[in-house]
Each structure stands twice: as structure tokens, then as C-alpha cells.
Symmetry: C2
Subunit: 542 residues, 2 copies
Amino acid sequence: MEKMDIVLGKEKTPLVFKNARVLNVYTKEWERTDIAVKDGQILGTGKYDGDREIDCENRYIVPGFIDTHLHLESTLVHPKYLITEAAKTGTTTFIVDPHEAANVSGTDGIQFILDETEDVMASCFIMLPSCVPCIPGEQSGAQLRAEDLAPFLSHERVLGLGEVMDCRSVFEGAEEMMEKLRLFENKPKDGHNTGLSEHELNAYRLAGIQTNHEMTTYEDAKKEISKGFYCHIREGSAARNLKDIVRGIVEDKGSTRFYTFCTDDKHIHDILEEGHISHSIRKAIGLGIPPEEAYQMASLNGAICYGLNKKGAIAPGKDADLVLLKDPKKVIIDEVYHQGKKVEGNPVIGPTPENLLQTVHLGEFTVDHLKDVDCDDIMVLIPDQLLTKRIPYEEGDHGHLNKILLAERHGKTGDIGLGWVQGYGIKNGALATSVSHDNHNIIAIGDNDLDIYQGIRHLEKTGGGYVLVEKGKIVGSLPLEIMGLMTNESYEKVNRTLSRMKEKAHQMGIPRNIEPFILPSFLALTVIPEIRISSKGMVIVK
Amino acid sequence: MEKMDIVLGKEKTPLVFKNARVLNVYTKEWERTDIAVKDGQILGTGKYDGDREIDCENRYIVPGFIDTHLHLESTLVHPKYLITEAAKTGTTTFIVDPHEAANVSGTDGIQFILDETEDVMASCFIMLPSCVPCIPGEQSGAQLRAEDLAPFLSHERVLGLGEVMDCRSVFEGAEEMMEKLRLFENKPKDGHNTGLSEHELNAYRLAGIQTNHEMTTYEDAKKEISKGFYCHIREGSAARNLKDIVRGIVEDKGSTRFYTFCTDDKHIHDILEEGHISHSIRKAIGLGIPPEEAYQMASLNGAICYGLNKKGAIAPGKDADLVLLKDPKKVIIDEVYHQGKKVEGNPVIGPTPENLLQTVHLGEFTVDHLKDVDCDDIMVLIPDQLLTKRIPYEEGDHGHLNKILLAERHGKTGDIGLGWVQGYGIKNGALATSVSHDNHNIIAIGDNDLDIYQGIRHLEKTGGGYVLVEKGKIVGSLPLEIMGLMTNESYEKVNRTLSRMKEKAHQMGIPRNIEPFILPSFLALTVIPEIRISSKGMVIVK
């Protein structure tokens, strides 16, 4: 009842943001008002007196931003670093899919992400990975069935089912997929699709999937919205779809009601450079979305989409997630509050659970096993793209070829697949990494078997990471001891190490228009055309 | 999997609406498309072939309308009649609050409404009455506590908590109210308020209440929406708030996202005359709301508000609730389909449960008990209004006064409250009725004790209803045998009887600008100013 007495003005409020220009995302209007806060919750707006008052006379306040879809693992550092840096730029709610962690360590990986997002300066909700492995038959570290996901459903921060990328299983009614869809029947289910026909889109929506973040054009986005999907406009480090979609909305004078913003994968480096969801808002405003609407897309829309009743607006009963701005049009952020507490400082990282360390378990093999390559096609890299081409191995002179290899590392089959790649250009050495979407086996590329072998064996010792070997010597190493995906080291240190290794890699012959580390991490992702490497050898992707 | 094969176009669809202009309420655009339907569910839009095809070449199709708040009991006839007639005008979803039934028969009344809305030509969802009696201390037929409502929560058509009209209990944190709010913590909770201060509105929203249908001005509606409420724009038989609110939206160029339509109380006579939610849509279009948006307000907005995932749009997975129009701007309805079945014919009414019959249980009293009136004020009726005025009894000549009385009829206290009323004007007789909001005790008005007494005793025999007595003779009687609120007789017969009785009532002296039956039914509603009758005597309402 104390709360009621305070909101009714009978008692003083513990904390009041005084006299700000506050964006009401329901009416899309700015109101000159106080915000009364107690225990991290907004009690009301209007006139209030506080035990503690924060003067906001010259500031604007908007609701904390929501990233409606992201993976925390892809920044190489501990999740708390990314959350902290993104929260400082106004993102106070994260809808997280621990897809990579689950592909390596299964439910332990999910539990890790749940635990490490508990005590942070933001609210993190979890969508449980639906496709582990991402396609039936992939040699990932775990296989998650409905019964594996079920125990997580009672967790208060678990919202629903993560991106259902295995569309085929949905259309074919594959039993495992059906079990998952049934388990999450009345919960949000995220999608992940491109290029579906109208009938397939109907089927996908009929299965209860209600979002997509893979739209790249306004036409696609509008088509999916017309079927009842939400469009999470993605603007991350690599995939940047905002401009095309938002330009379409503006030209078409379309409604923004079913659009939200997400990053999917955005690295700390880019967050520090340009912001997080704040960058999406700024860009959308620049393209012609009225600021009030851009902030609405970044807050209320996502909250409604996921039924987050305590998020998305500055109104009674909502969490006091507040972004204080100096300039709302330019999205110049002054301070950020999450549940009434100022977002500041650095996170405290605790020890990593033992079962997530030393996760590289290779089969028995010697350097001789890497000798004989049996493949009909060569993988050809295309500068600045994730796509690859293939050319027949027989045809003529292929210039400088590298050997490419994928070694199952989850201690299951010990399979090693071999092939040839053109365009990577590494000489007198090899690169190896355990970051290899989505199964995260060991991928290695080199021009001699000894260096390749040494690189792989090095990763076995560090528990994964990135390694560069030159003429039998380790010339660069970034251990990623957590599941072979992340490290507890600071972002700054990781960045320094990677920069040095990157420069060294280019010196070893990798062209400047090829990203020496990120590109290889995608060469085993057997959903991107035209040719990939698997633990069974080269595969052609249609 | 059959469904998947059909939606993917591999198999023929059982039912296809061919080639209509279909309103997409997500994009607010008209699409030329087929609608594929199986087992009452929309599988998809696009091109489909059907075993059965309905040609819609010259017709428009919009999603079935949602009435976001109504009471079924106030039409005097069985709920199925109202639902049928309203469904024929396009309302295919009803969000029903069985408040009147609950006030008379408690949980039995709620169960009756649940049972009788099961097998109908529309989808009926129930909001459980939160305030029975409407204010603590009222002598209603039942008192519903949280524990009485709890067993209904598992019913699939029960959505949440009905209109919380007892705002004071919310603000004061009255334990009974808190228990109900806790019980419905994560469910929709409807409001009912007027004239709250900004602090009170904050408190009301903080309590989790999220809708209101009592707004009469745009200013109020916008204020509440800015706090996070939905505004259900009411357009019923008596209360008609649409014009003022919609005019405000249009002038202000306001967003309609948080507005829906409701009727609250709309009589069959008016439904047949002008439509139901269809009338609200037509009126909104007439006032300047674009048709596409008016239909969106009538469908998608309400579905989102109440989390009705299968309602609100023509899209994969939604119920096939379709309104076929000849003219969308004029809302000229051709056919209506509910879950793929055409709405037509008349309902079949089964026998009424015994426990809802013979519900008038008066105390022991004789005509002598009605003799002595002890009150300081006279109730003065105001033509065409529900409001009353009061004047002191002492002051001068009061002209023709009637005696007014409220007799507890639920077999609890047997209390009878007496007073004087000016302006009703009945001579040589009396009117009595068991329809008396919200406690539904017996209200009677007359100019002589004998006729009043006879009227009351007559209702005891019929189990309630309306009765008109003149000089010791029953000159008109409408038995409402179900809880004293409704009858199983047809609407037509009820209407004929009421018309005759109305004419007779006017002949007996009731002025033409006073509704002889509806007005008395509100004279015991102790929340409307300025003076009312209770079973304890006259009460002043601030």
C-alpha cells in the first residue's frame, strides 16, 4: 500500500525525475512532466515530489531501447561486456538467443547465458534455440530436442522459442520440430527466413512463428507483415538492412506499428563507434521517420510483440528504464537508467563453470591424415562477401591454393573433412579457429599440413580460439576458453590481440579485401551458397 | 500435416473465398486475394483452389468485428438472441462481462452465461465480474470474492477480470480487491472510471487495469491512453460516446492504435435498426476515420488488447471470421462467416437451470410496512437523463409525488427502503421491476401502497420482470423468469409486450420524456448522482 500512497501523492516518492520533456510513446507526443520512481518501477507521471530528485530541466527522456533479437556470443568476449556497453548507449532490454552457446554446450550453454545475464545493468530475456544443430545431421556439440528445452520454460526470463531457421522441418512436419512448436504453443516464436514463396510464408505463419529479422527489402518486410509477422529491422556489424527497409516505409508512408529494431550480431567495437539500437534510431530518423515514431519502434513495438508488460513506455507500472537525451533528433545520450539505477561502470565477471572450459575434443589423428584431399570442386572466395563460388578441381591452373579443413571437435565422431580453397592466399602457415558457425567445429586453412596440424593441436590446448601458425611457430593466439567462443579477457585486450594477428595474417599473404578471421568462421555454415566445408568434406549449397 | 500440405498448395483446400478484395488490417491495404479455410481456420491468403469455392468477385471482405465490452443480460431476452442478431451484423467476437447475472445468482449466473455462449454463432470470451456487489455493502444476490472467481480461471474462454468499478477499494488497497488483482496478475483487467485525477489514473493503471469504456470526451480518452490504457469507444443504446471521441481523434490527427469499439449495453431493437459494431464503424467513417482504419479499430486493436491470437485479422492461423461487404465505406453487409460457417438462422434455446428460476425471495411484510416514509429529501427526475436532483422534503408544495421503494429480494435481509420521487407522475397505480442495476432488488414506484404491494407480490410469483398495476389490477406484465433479468421468450414477443406496457404507462401519467421502464431500473444505482433509493432508504450520491 505504500506504493499506492506514493502514487496518489499522499507520501513523498523515493526518486523523481523532475520536469523533463518526456516522450509518451502511446500518443507520440512530448509531455513536460515528472516521473515518479520507486524500487525501479515507474509509479506515475504528472507532478511529484521526491526524496531524491534528478533535475531534467534541459533534457529529454525516452523509454529504454529494446534489441528484439541478438546473440551475445559473437563478440568473443563475455556477454556482460556487450550488455554493459550497449546499455550505456540506451539499450536496456535484450531479447537474446543463445544459439552459439547451445550448439557447443547444449543446455549447459543456455544455462551459462541465463546465469550471466541475471545480474547485469539491463533486462535480458531468452528465446530458447530451436535449431541445434541448425540443420538435421550437422555435427554440433549438442542436439536439443523439445524435452531438453522444456525445463527452461518455467524460468521467468525465458520468453519463447528462438529463430526457427529450419523452415523445411516446419513445412514437412518433422516430428522433432512439431514437438518444439507444440511445447511453445502459446509463447512467442521467432522466425528466420528469406526467399519463401507466398504459400510457404502462409505455412510458416500458420506454424505460429511471428517474427523475422532476415528481411532485406521493404517489399519483403511488408509482405511478411501483411501475413501477421513482426519485422525486426536488423542493423548489426555485418548485416545492415535498415536503410533499404526504412527508406521503403518512408516512401510508401507505411505504418511502423509492426517494425522493431534488432542487431542480431553487433560487435563492441561498432557499439563504441556508433551506438547500438541508438544507431538504428538515429539512422531511421535520418531517413525520414519522425523521431517520436523511431523511439516508439525502439521501445513499445517490441514490448507488445513479446508481451513484455513492464517494458516499452514511460507509464505507471513500467520498469524505470529511461534514456536521458540532450538531443532527441540526433540521439545524443546523456545518461541511461535501468530499473531506476544509472547504467555506469564495468561488469564483474565471475569464474566460468568448469564444464564450459576445455571443450575442444578432437579425434585421434596425425598430420598424415591431412594429406589426401578428395574433392571435385574448389571453393573460391569472393572479396567482401560471405558467398563463395566453386570451380571444378580438374580445370587448369588454380594459382595459389590453400587446404581447408573442418575437424569435428565435440568429441563425437572425430571426423575431418578436407578441401581446397582459392583466394585466401596464406603462405608458409595456417590459421585455425573454433569459431565456426553454427556447429563450431575447428576450421583451419593453410598451405602446409604441418602448420595446419600444429594450429589445430594448439586450439586443443587453449580450449579453442583463433591461432596463426607460421613455419612451425605460433605467431598469434587468441584463446577463447569459454566453449571455444568467448574469453573472460577484456574487450580492449581482445581487440589489441586481434588487430596484431590481423596485420600478421595479411603479411602472410591474405589479401586486404578478405577479413582473415571473420570470413573463415562462416566457411562451414552450410546454408550459404555455393560451396562450404563440412566434417565430411566439401558440400555444395543450392 | 494435412493442413501444411493444403497451405503449401499440394492439396486442395476444403473452402476458398475466391477473388475478393480483402482488407489487410496490418498494412491497412486492400488486396485482391483468395482466402483458404479449413476447419474454421484461415490457412492462408494468395492463390488457392477449393473443394468448395465462394465467389467474392464483387465483394469486399474484412475481419469479423470485436465488441470489446458488453453485458448480455440487459436486453431482457436470452443471451443467444442478442449474439445471433449482432453476429448477423458482423460482430463475431464478444468480450462479455456477466456482471448482472453475477449480482443476482453469483457463480451460477456466471456459469449460465458461460454455458449459453458456448454453442453460438460467434466467439464469446468472458471477463469475470470484479465488483459483486458493485460497492461494498450493497445488498446484491451474491458476494464474489477472489476464491469464488478462481475456479473459472482455467476455462479457455475466460480472459481476465471484468470492469473494476470500485476504484476506491483499489486506491485504499482493500484486501478483497487486492486478492482479485493478484489472482488476475498476468491477465487482462478491464476498468470502469470517470473523473479520476491524474494521480488516481496513475494508481489505477499501476494496479494493472488496462482498459476503460467510460470515456466521454477525446481529452479524457487521450489522457488515459497516454497512461497505457486502451479506450473502448462506447456506442450503445443509451450511452453514445463515439461522436465526441472520434471527432477529437480526427481533429487531432491522433493515432487510433489504442482505440477499440464496444457497445456495453445495446438492445436488439437498436441492433436491428442500425447495426451493432457495424454502426460504430459506419459512424466513425462518417466522422472522418479512413475506412481501413475503422475496420482495424473494430478487429485487430481489440484482439491485441486481449491477446486473442486467433482473432483480429485475415491471415494464416486466424479464425475464419469474415464479413462480406457490398460497400465498405457505407458498411453494407452481405454475409457474415464465423469460423468458416455462415451466420444465419435462429438460435435454439434450451431449458433454464432450475436454480436460476424463482429468484425473487422477499422478506415477510404487509402493505402496512410501506406506509411510513422517513426521508429528508425528495428525488427529482430529469427528463432524458439518468441523473437525478434532490430537494428538501420540507420545502413547500411538491406537486404530484410518487412513493419509491427498494425491496431486497435475494432472501437475505428482507430490507425495504422507502422514499419520495417527483416527476414520474404515475397515477392510480404502480410499476415494479426486478431489473434494478446493479443489485437487482425490486424497485417499485406508485401513488398508492396497495398497487405497489400488489406489483411486488406479482413479481414474486413470476420470478421477476416488469409489472404495471392500476387500481388493484395487473394491466401489464413481462415476466423475466431467468434471474429476474431475462426471459426465454422471443425478442419480438418481448418487444410487443413492452410497447403495449409503455403506452399504458404513459396513459397512467408518466410523462412522454421519461422512459417508464429503463429509467426506474437505474434509480437504485448508487454511483450516479445526486440521489438514489437503496434498501435502507434514500441515499445521497456525491
